[in-house]
């Protein structure tokens, strides 16, 4: 698991990298939850631009982040998503409950 994050104007941006599967999902979920709890941002942005592969574990990562943000009354935005990860997001129908911005190629 590799991620970097930064906080600016109550917007917490978390950049995910590499492959997201069940093997690493739990640590992503827990790390994101602890960052949201620590910074209580108004908006959390999950940036998927550097994600090269994900299966439905990536959906679980997004849903957990959405729940964490809901608990503190904030919102979640998913950005930079394209290719294979975008296809998984679309197949899951999660775009109905989370705002998604696809990456511009």
């Amino acid at each position: 698991m590799r991620l970097t994050s930064y906080l600016q104007d109550s917007r917490l941006t978390i950049e995910l990298t590499g492959e997201i599967d069940h093997h690493c999902a739990k640590s992503y979920i827990q790390t994101i939850a602890s960052k949201i709890e620590a910074y209580t941002p108004q908006t959390c942005i999950l940036d998927f631009e550097q994600v090269t592969f994900m299966d439905s574990s990536g959906i679980a990562v997004a849903i957990n982040a959405l729940r964490n943000m809901g608990r503190i009354g904030g919102s979640l935005l998913i950005t930079g998503i394209c290719g294979q990860p975008l296809k998984v997001f679309k197949a899951s129908g999660i775009e109905k409950i989370v705002e998604i911005k696809e990456c511009v190629l």
Binding site: H23, S57, N64, K87
Partner: protein, 143 residues
């Protein structure tokens, strides 16, 4: 012979093997000259099936996962992923989107994704004996 090539892979149900399993199948499939998108679809479906074995088939320890791939004559990849784990009592319920008996780190979308990313998909299971996922993906012939 109905198939042109095959391989069988046996791995213990360690989550660290998920990446290996999907990459191995993708490597095998690459002889069919798939597009990046087709390869991504195959990797995704295999990842879901193998994860199911790890999370659900063998919840209390390690078991064996067998992956068999064949190349059929009409440019089709045939994949069978089998375990000898606990089995699924109610397959229809397990196939429902968002249904999961897993923890917070599962989304319940595994079967939905396998079904939408592959050309054909079927599951057979016997409680106490194991589960078998059979998928096929017909690849477009590139001109």
């Amino acid at each position: 012979m109905k198939f042109e090539n095959y391989m069988t892979l046996e791995i213990p149900s360690r989550s660290s093997n998920e990446a290996f399993a999907r990459s191995a199948v993708a490597c095998f499939a690459s002889q069919l000259d798939p597009t990046m998108e087709e390869l991504g679809d195959i990797r995704t479906a295999v990842s879901e099936a193998v994860t199911n074995c790890i999370v659900h088939a063998y919840p209390d320890g390690l078991g064996i996962i067998t992956i068999r791939c064949r190349i059929l004559k009409d440019n089709t990849l045939d994949v069978v992923i089998k375990d000898k784990g606990v089995g699924i009592k109610d397959i229809q319920q397990a196939m429902q989107p968002m249904f999961t008996t897993g923890g917070f780190d599962r989304s319940g979308m595994g079967f939905t994704i396998m079904e939408s990313f592959m050309t054909t998909f079927s599951v057979t299971s016997q409680p106490g004996k194991g589960t078998c996922v059979h998928m096929r993906r017909k690849l477009q012939r590139r001109k």
